[in-house]
Symmetry: C2
DNA sequence: TCTATTTTTAACCATTTGGTTAAACCATTT
DNA sequence: AAATGGTTTAACCAAATGGTTAAAAATAGA
């Protein structure tokens, strides 16, 4: 009678169930804090099955980590290298794409950045290299061009790039503290993030406007 | 002959040695990733001595975590509630104080925020409550006043506050990735952070200027 | 110097944790 | 229905880990 009592969709196969469960546990606890047993429980299967599908904790982690890293850079390289789009619109596209991604996957920023931060010798940082990061060069280049064409005021491309990422990404890493110190509810925070797409775009655009 | 071969100052007493070692290990690995043996090794003492001075891992963690939390809010509440200081100067004071703090303790943002993020049931979030967070109210209030007095353009206080924190704090959490994707050296990054104090201040001030 | 107290250590202990194994289960083919 | 091959499980195992204990070493007090 009670058939679908597991925490994951019943029609998923075991591998999918494991991946979904592993994401949930790893995203919230991190590699060191995650327990294989917790993942098995979450997936509603036996622990040995984890090792049947993914040899080890590290291997399982790697699969999920690689996918998460893939979301680090927004899929908008084409936009930034397109000379037909105004710089302001590029900023808007960036913020929109980036913040939307984190609204869908709010745990990924903390997960990825924490693992890379505490990566002592484990060499996960090299996985970052493997990921294509041409987009970064495109963005930096695009900023430089915009400055030269006096489309925006003079700024250090690296600093502006860091500002863009900070404004879009940080809120999802600091949300527990921010919610606590401001006392806002989950709903309010969610609304803030929705508003933030435009808010941040305009905040940046307003700041880098070229004024004669 | 070889007397001072430990990684910590020799003239420190054991308790201080342990605290210094625990900070180093905990800050870089996080609670779940830290090993009591690693802390003991780092301090150059026996593992049992850890438990002699601090009953348990959790207790030791709590001491260090509380101190770290204390640095979360800059010690500038007086500045923000002082009506004699221009809003722009308040921004400058905030960025200066905040970024300087993280340059001295670059591991704290990731450490504190990660623990609070993955705080499921452990109740470390309640330690945030115990810390005085009146400063937050002062900042939010100060923003509201500045908007009303048309000292700055109309902004959502919460969003601006979040922008300020994001711009100052994020770089120290994302530094490994940022360094990797941009290819800049440790020295360059350090210089960037030094420049960032003014860079971020002006970035914000420029964005929220009241323009008739 | 002898005693009492505090500090430090080596050796253990119990539990947790990632991982393995051999058997059971199940679906498909013959 | 029997054989086959992939899937799942219960029971184990060895190493790691947080924590304890009893004794040794150092320190202070008389």
């Amino acid at each position: 009678m009670v058939k679908n009592r597991n925490k994951v969709k019943a029609d998923e196969n075991s591998e999918e169930k494991i991946l979904a469960a592993a994401k949930k546990v790893l995203f919230s606890k991190g590699y060191a804090g995650a327990r294989m047993q917790d993942i098995a429980d979450e997936a509603g299967i036996n622990k040995a099955l984890l090792h049947y599908y993914f040899r080890s904790k590290e291997k399982l982690f790697e699969v999920i980590f690689k996918e998460a890293i893939g979301k680090l850079m927004p899929q908008i390289s084409s936009i930034f290298s397109d000379p037909g789009i105004s710089f302001n619109d590029k900023i808007r596209a960036f913020c929109n794409s980036y913040i939307s991604t984190w609204m869908e996957h709010p745990y990924i920023p903390m997960f990825v950045l924490h693992e890379l931060h505490s990566d002592s010798g484990k060499g996960f940082l090299k996985l970052v290299e493997e990921t294509r990061f041409r987009p970064v060069k495109d963005v930096l280049n695009s900023i430089e061009v915009a400055v030269k064409k006096k489309e925006i005021r003079k700024v250090d491309p690296h600093q502006l790039f860091l500002n863009m990422i900070s404004l879009c990404m940080f809120p999802f890493m600091g949300s527990p503290v921010f919610r606590k110190v401001t006392g806002i509810s989950d709903r309010q925070f969610d609304n803030m993030m929705k508003a933030r797409v435009d808010e941040v775009s305009e905040f940046i655009i307003e700041s880098i406007k070229y004024r004669k």
